[in-house]
């Protein structure tokens, strides 16, 4: 794995830019493709080097079932919490730790674009916030996000198995 040999992101510089991701055809088809691309880049930086690339991809490693040591090592990148955090950041673009109503609307807009009306978007966003927002501050914090996804099998849905 990695962009030296098998990744289609050919490059000689040792770094990737957002345009390089744009060359991946299947990614252009994904409604939230742009958000996924920007998830690889730290805020303010325009390039990502190989080490950071791998670190982000590590989030998608399947979680090991047996963990003998707990609390001694720093939390691994592919833990449930980290996967949730990655998804949270797809919503929370300004990284203020909360998904505001506006941010939610933005995500819905990119995922649905011309297929629904503005009113429908508003009502969907309204319902979603009402359900998840427990402390009634009109925004979804990371804990509220985590709570609403308690029963989802994240390990399976957010993991990619690498062939070796």
């Amino acid at each position: 794995m990695g962009f030296n040999g098998t990744s289609p992101l050919l490059d000689q510089r040792g770094e990737l830019r957002p345009e390089d991701f744009g060359a991946i055809r299947e990614l252009s088809m994904n409604p939230i493709g742009d958000r996924i691309i920007s998830a690889f880049f730290s805020p303010g930086k325009e390039t990502v080097d190989f080490a950071s690339f791998v670190r982000i991809l590590a989030h998608f490693h399947p979680t090991e079932t047996s963990r003998s040591r707990d609390g001694v090592q720093p939390e691994p990148a592919n833990s449930r919490t980290r996967k949730l955090k990655f998804a949270f950041q797809l919503y929370d673009q300004d990284r203020d730790g909360k998904i505001s109503r506006e941010e939610l609307l933005q995500v819905l807009r990119t995922m649905l674009e011309m297929q629904v009306t503005e009113e429908q978007l508003q009502s969907i966003a309204e319902r979603a916030i009402q359900e998840a927002d427990l402390d009634q501050d009109d925004a979804i914090s990371f804990d509220e996000f985590r709570k609403s996804l308690e029963k989802v099998d994240i390990d399976h849905k957010m993991s990619i198995r690498f062939l070796s």
Binding site: F60, E113, M114, Q120, S148, K157, M158, L163
Partner: protein, 484 residues
């Protein structure tokens, strides 16, 4: 000093003269005469077997070297680096996500977990997407002693380096000049002889001779590339009044097919050497060349092709419906233009063996001349050609479905992956229609199907929006002329 060098000079000249004569005689006897007569001594197959033995030896040396250093030998994964789950639809995946999350609700609505589906698909695409890797050369599992195929092969010992050096000498010193000579001979003969044949008044004689001339010149060209071709199922060879379609990997495909039968070629008029060849060829045989302006006019193209197939005395047309060169691991979308013409289609599958030299023309990386030089300095071009049984459009099948059926047959025979993606993506960006398709599917999950009688007050709005004809395959309106 003059009295010293003079006899030396004479000797040198004589040696050179003898060697050149010997060389040309060998060339003539072993290559040109068989090409003219259509026989083969079997030298090329012997060469191929020897090379395979050498490659196997080279790989085992590399593995030994790797073992000594306790490292793994790098082997590129031809089947992809991630395990892709069996493709399930967007609806199914989202049901699974939601089913595990909360109790089913009466009306479908947005769940925060939905984003996981898109997120994972996106990252999978980044790691290994089906389309982009088809536009670069296929990676080999073992090294074939060509630097250009060396992707990360390490542990190359001294012996291997010597062998490689020897290979370079042989390829560039002996094989390349030989092949270039042959190519020049072949092309000049083609141009001269077809022009001459074009002057003959008698139609029958002209047809007969033009067939022979074309075959002979293409056979010389095949030897110029050291192409070792195996034809399968020759009883299915295309007949007059039909269209022959094939997957496209390189411009050499034409030579490979024309080596075994006579076809009418289709293409754009070029300038320079190609243009000269085109003009000469069309004098003796009815090839179809289009001016650049005519290419855009689909009706004109269709009419000329139909007229050609209607005339049963004319040879079958050769068309590459992908429209561009793909790297021979997959077959991409066929443009439907050539399948709209009402006639029999003869599918042909061509599969190159990449161990001897990669035949794929990456036109964004190399120009044509550069590409041909690379071809001529590889070991050989080994390929298999399968003639598939003829197919006709069935009742109730439209051109696109017919095209897909033919494509599936070719992919199955050649052992290639059958993709729906358009080869035009080599140069173009993905059309927004694909993204909209995904958005449409997702909105169906959220807001409900068109006919399900959802009582929301704005149903009439979004349903009308979805009525646009979103068939992505119709978007590409290019015609089916063979091109890059």
């Amino acid at each position: 000093m003059t009295w010293f060098t003079f006899p030396g000079d004479n000797l040198l000249c004589r040696c050179l003269g003898i060697s050149i004569t010997a060389w040309l005689t060998l060339l003539f006897v072993f290559i040109i005469v068989p090409a003219v007569l259509g026989v083969s001594f079997g030298i090329r197959r012997l060469y191929m077997r020897t090379l395979l033995k050498i490659f196997a030896w080279a790989t085992s040396r590399m593995e030994m070297g790797a073992k000594e250093k306790n490292q793994q030998l790098h082997k590129p994964y031809s089947n992809g680096i991630i395990a892709k789950e069996s493709p399930s639809s967007l609806q199914q995946e989202l049901q699974e996500l939601r089913g595990s999350a909360s109790c089913p609700r009466s009306e479908p609505e947005f769940e925060m977990a939905d984003i996981f589906y898109f997120c994972r698909r996106g990252v999978e695409s980044i790691l290994d997407d089906e389309v982009t890797k088809r536009f670069s050369a296929q990676e080999l599992e073992s090294w074939n002693l060509l630097t250009r195929s060396n992707y990360n092969f390490r542990h190359i010992s001294l012996r291997l380096t010597v062998l490689w050096g020897l290979g370079v000498l042989i390829r560039y010193g002996i094989l390349l000049p030989l092949r270039v000579t042959l190519a020049i001979t072949g092309i000049s003969l083609l141009v001269v002889l077809t022009t001459l044949v074009g002057f003959l008044p008698n139609r029958e004689l002209r047809f007969y001779l033009s067939e022979k001339v074309h075959l002979m010149c293409f056979r010389i060209c095949v030897r110029a590339l050291t192409a070792i071709i195996t034809y399968h199922n020759r009883e299915n060879k295309p007949k007059n009044g039909g269209i022959c379609v094939s997957n496209h990997t390189t411009p050499i495909d034409v030579i490979i097919l024309a080596n075994d039968g006579c076809y009418s070629m289709v293409g754009q008029v070029h300038g320079g050497l190609m243009g000269m060849m085109q003009r000469a060829m069309v004098k003796s045989s009815p090839h179809i060349w289009f001016e650049r302006s005519e290419v855009k006019d689909r009706h004109l193209v269709a009419k000329r092709l139909s007229d050609h197939v209607a005339d049963k005395t004319k040879q079958p047309i050769l068309i590459f419906p992908e429209g561009t060169c793909i790297n021979n691991t997959s077959v991409m979308m066929f443009k439907k233009g050539s399948f709209e013409i009402a006639c029999t289609v003869y599918p042909v599958a061509i599969k190159y063996d990449p161990r001897f030299g990669d035949a794929f023309w990456n036109s964004s990386k190399f120009g044509l001349v550069n590409y041909l030089l690379r071809m001529m300095s590889s070991w050989a071009i080994v390929c298999s050609v399968w003639y598939l049984p003829p197919m006709n459009r069935e009742e109730g099948e439209d051109a696109m479905q017919f095209a897909n059926r033919v494509k599936a047959a070719i992919a199955a025979q050649g052992g290639l992956v059958d993709l729906i993606w358009d080869g035009g993506l080599k140069r173009a960006k993905v059309k927004d229609a694909f993204k909209e398709e995904q958005q449409k599917l997702y909105s169906k999950v959220l807001v409900g199907e068109q006919d399900e009688g959802e009582q929301s007050d704005d149903m009439h709005l979004e349903d009308e929006n979805q009525e646009e004809d979103e068939n992505p395959e119709d978007e590409s309106n290019q015609d089916s002329t063979k091109g890059q």
